[in-house]
Symmetry: C2
Subunit: 114 residues, 2 copies
DNA sequence: TTGATATTCAACCAATTGGTTGAAGAAAGG
DNA sequence: CCTTTCTTCAACCAATTGGTTGAATATCAA
């Protein structure tokens, strides 16, 4: 099974701090220090979270002198979305079928009653 | 931040074994032993994976005597999907706006050329 | 050069995850 | 009853995650 990218993406999204970082990046590029500021943890802890986000390619880094500007990269979300929607649709279809079966059963009962 | 459910859902989806278990459950209810059979790991290991899936409410358990029948529950996927689609749409909109700006710039240039 | 700022690296620690083996408990089949 | 089957529980171990502090590195600014 060659799904390591998906593993990394889902894992990266499975932590509230990291999702908050991504939300922060919706407002645009930001430096590591800026990103870390609102969090009640050390800069180093945030730096590590960023590393996991980079592993999942959800964050891009642009270095300008001593400052590192992080930006959000939405592309990996497609892969996560694809898996989820694929699975959801499969079951949506099954439930439709089930509903259809139940309806036809109901119709059949009505028919017999008459 | 009260996002523990989402944490559990994403975390559950962040492992290939667990996604494979869910895929297996697409074929319908199955016992723990049946689910574990194709995997190259102990029954106990699979049992633990199932526990994480249950924590995320992605799997329901029905006990019939000594056998436990697991089934897939798609509902939590809505929550994961919501977060992802929300975020994707935000950026899709931004890119549309950017594209629009670029186009209008192009138009402007053309206009000036004439 | 000196000093402040921005960041990572390294070592450490606790909690979680991902796996093992060996039991225990509960139900089925003789 | 006894044995087998299905499953979890408990203890253990390695790797990863989530955090800390302290140091190293690189850049800016005086």
């Amino acid at each position: 099974m060659r799904s390591e990218r998906l593993d990394h993406i889902m894992t990266a999204l499975g932590d509230p701090t990291r999702r908050a970082i991504l939300a922060r990046l919706n407002a645009g590029e930001a430096r590591v220090t800026d990103i870390a500021a609102p969090f009640d943890m050390s800069l180093n802890a945030v730096s590590k979270h960023i590393r996991l986000l980079e592993r999942a390619d959800l964050v891009k880094r642009r270095k300008a002198g001593r400052e590192h500007y992080l930006s959000f990269n939405a592309a990996p979300l497609d892969e996560a979305s694809e898996w989820i929607e694929q699975t959801r649709m499969f079951w949506a279809r099954r439930l439709d079928t089930l509903e259809c079966v139940l309806k036809s059963d109901l119709q059949e009962k009505k028919g017999r009653k008459k």
